[in-house]
């Protein structure tokens, strides 16, 4: 069964919704202990056991939705044989359909093999029953067959299938698995299994030979989140290394934090072998955020659990690692000594504070260097092996401002120098004034060199005219006129 909260769904929940999310998960756990958080706002669990206890899937789902509604969160539930189908069922279940006026219009759209809840007389349940969709056992393949291929997460593949005339998942599922694998590769095979109502990857047959979980104890218990999240990153790397050494990857990872007073917070997060160590650390942060008191509280610093005493990451559902081949040739070898130093600074200032520059291409001096956080994959933003017409040639400046500085360039009469649409300069630049520094006399200049970039993308489009200015103190400047304003992009000294 999948419970989805559309309002809380998002790639990066803020602390408020993270806390709400944690409460929602706590409510769901009251019904069934083994809950998997697929992504923020969506959780899933095996429904067979609890459904029997609560008197059927409908009743169970209705109770959960009512309990979640008590928190002021709207939710939907979907039940099917597999996670993918249950997700789609939860998406198809529309709480808006609860309004009687829209009931009829929704009716014909629901296929006959999907059992919709009959309206129940009890008030709370009646309101929630339209937010539930149950696909009966064995009906998953049929339910999926009618879905459009666009529900597949891989939009490239979906677009390709549509162009091939395969509009519905049923058409795709009807293709022989072997042909799909040879034509679309690993990703296509995975999607094909989904379309047939199977799990995306066959489970590895044998149980893991060793305990692959990793743990770290904090003594004294760590009250701040940052050090715990940082330790989680190292733990995740250790976990990934252990899995990779055995040629395995995990579908889910369990994060269990133990507080000083003995209480535990344990969650399953979707992994699929795709999460980086930083991604796992993010989930630890969300999980810890959810357990903390709101920042407005007077005793926010002194939270009741007394700090994290232990953190444990355990892989769940091991499968063979099939894809995600990493580069065969490594980058510059980072010695342990440097890595330790860099990670200690990261622990102090945050992951993004220690950068490694990667040289690439581009027309701006600032854009030709891509700073990459230490420990992440190094790739320049713009390819270096392209010609980049319009870049400034000659020696590179020693000072490149990450954000261009405001400046004023005036002519002999004290008027701001302007550049017309046809690249005519109003007068020769005579003075350069940079805020916070004494004004300088311009002794030589060249330009304007026009540069119109990315006109096809309104958000990134820029039209600039560049100048090189030499000033009486012996320095030289790379200045641009953009939207009638003068900016200093770089300094030559």
């Amino acid at each position: 069964m999948v419970v989805s909260c559309p309002d809380l769904h998002g790639p990066d929940p803020d602390p408020v919704s993270a806390r709400l999310l944690e409460q929602v998960i706590a409510v769901v756990i009251a019904f069934c202990p083994k809950v998997e958080v697929v992504e923020p706002g969506i959780c899933a669990f095996g429904a067979r056991g609890p459904a029997r206890y609560f008197g059927g899937e409908m009743a169970l789902a209705a109770r959960i939705i009512a309990a979640v509604a008590d928190l002021g969160v709207e939710s939907r539930a979907g039940v099917a044989d597999g996670l993918f189908a249950a997700l789609l069922a939860a998406r198809a279940a529309s709480p808006a359909a609860a309004a009687p006026a829209r009931k009829e219009s929704v009716g014909p759209r629901v296929p006959s093999y999907v059992r919709c809840a009959p309206p129940t007389p009890q008030g709370a349940l009646a309101d929630s029953s339209n937010a539930i969709m149950v696909v009966p056992p064995g009906g998953t393949a049929q339910f999926l067959a009618a879905q459009p291929v666009s529900v597949l997460a891989d939009q490239d593949l979906a677009g390709l299938l549509k162009r091939l005339g395969l509009g519905a998942l049923g058409d795709f599922a009807a293709l022989p698995a072997r042909d799909v694998a040879s034509r679309f590769g690993d990703a296509g095979e995975c999607a094909h299994r989904l379309a047939r109502g199977l799990d995306p990857r066959p489970l590895a047959a044998r149980p893991p030979p060793a305990d692959l979980s990793v743990a770290r104890e904090f003594g004294p218990p760590e009250a701040r989140a940052e050090p715990v999240v940082f330790a989680a990153k190292a733990l995740a790397e250790q976990l990934h290394a252990g899995l990779a050494a055995r040629g395995l990857t995990c579908v889910r990872v369990q994060i269990r934090a133990t507080w000083a007073d003995g209480r535990e917070s344990s969650r399953l997060w979707r992994h699929d072998g795709l999460l980086s160590a930083a991604g796992v650390a993010d989930r630890v942060r969300w999980q810890l955020d959810g357990c903390r008191p709101p920042p407005g509280d007077a005793d926010a610093e002194q939270h009741p659990q007394g700090g994290v005493a232990a953190l444990r990451l355990a892989p769940d559902l091991l499968v063979r690692a099939a894809g995600q081949q990493l580069a065969l040739w490594g980058e510059t070898v980072v010695s342990d000594r440097v890595a330790r130093a860099a990670m200690r600074v990261q622990a102090m200032l945050g992951h993004e504070a220690v950068l490694r520059p990667v040289l690439g291409g581009g027309r701006d001096f600032a854009g030709q260097v891509t700073p990459v956080p230490f420990g992440e994959k190094k790739e320049p933003r713009l390819a270096a092996d392209q010609p980049w017409p319009g870049r400034v040639i000659g020696p590179a400046p020693g000072v490149v401002y990450p954000a261009a500085r405001e400046a004023e360039v005036t002519d002999d009469a004290g008027e701001i120098v302007t550049v017309s649409g046809r690249c005519a300069v109003s007068a020769a630049p005579a003075r350069l004034a940079v805020p916070g520094e004494p004004p300088r006399r311009v002794t030589g200049w060249a330009g304007p060199w026009p540069l119109a970039e990315r006109w096809w993308d309104p958000a990134a489009a820029r039209r600039r005219a560049r100048f090189q200015l030499a000033t009486d103190d012996g320095r030289a400047w790379l200045a641009v006129v953009q939207d009638g304003r003068w900016l200093i992009e770089a300094g030559y000294w």
Partner: protein
């Protein structure tokens, strides 16, 4: 070569590069530094951040040393790479924040050379602690700014760009007068004229005859012998 060959004849070929005591610098900068390189365990100060700072760290980085750059978000890595810096062995900490002494101490544990512009004025206590860290780690701290305890102080006294006209041309090379002084063995003031950068992006020795004809020689250091020779030569060529 016989095993017993006495060493002295080989010494000039390896000035300052011998891994133990110093980190290498670009050949044209050797004469500015008392030991022909960056002495391990020492602090050097450059008056202001600029190409000179990047040129001083470039050769060590090319030689295999890791280089940390702290507190300088506008460091021109591209220009430094042109001088020889290996970007793959560079760590940038643009905003070290209020705890910058600890950050720099951590960087010094991992990097042989750290280029730092302190975000705030360093107290004497902080300076001494960092100097002790530098000595212990056998690294080099290069400060862009004021650092009273620095063994060597360098500054660009005069500089002048060539290639730019009145509405035409482009920047080609910069002729700079670099002065080094300091304490102890560095107490003697050394002055060199350099192309910083030269037209190929590197650093080269500037011949006084190559200087731009309108070079301002009325600089404070005008009584230095080298500068006098330059103006004399110019007078000869003009005559």
């Amino acid at each position: 070569m016989p095993v017993g060959e006495p060493g002295p004849s080989r010494v000039p070929e390896l000035p300052g590069v011998s891994g133990s005591g110093t980190l290498p610098v670009l050949p044209v900068l050797r004469e500015l530094l008392p030991r022909g390189g960056l002495a391990r365990g020492s602090v050097l100060a450059v008056a202001e951040f600029g190409l000179l700072c990047l040129a001083l760290v470039a050769a060590a980085s090319a030689d295999g040393a890791w280089c940390g750059i702290a507190g300088i978000p506008e460091a021109g890595v591209l220009a430094a790479a042109g001088l020889g810096l290996d970007a793959g062995r560079t760590l940038l900490v643009p905003e070290p924040g209020p705890a910058w002494p600890q950050v720099v101490a951590s960087l010094l544990d991992g990097c042989e050379i750290v280029l730092l512009r302190p975000p705030a004025r360093a107290s004497a206590q902080v300076r001494q602690r960092l100097e002790a860290t530098v000595r212990r780690g056998r690294g080099v701290l290069l400060v862009a700014g004021d650092w009273p305890g620095a063994q060597v102080r360098l500054r660009v006294v005069t500089q002048r760009w060539t290639g730019l006209g009145d509405g035409h041309g482009r920047l080609r090379a910069c002729c700079a007068e670099v002065v080094a002084d300091g304490r102890g063995e560095a107490a003697m003031t050394r002055t060199r004229w350099l192309w910083l950068p030269a037209e190929n992006g590197g650093v080269a020795v500037a011949d006084p005859r190559d200087l731009p004809a309108d070079f301002p020689f009325d600089v404070p250091a005008a009584d230095l012998p080298f500068t006098r020779a330059a103006s004399a030569l110019r007078a000869v060529s003009a005559g």
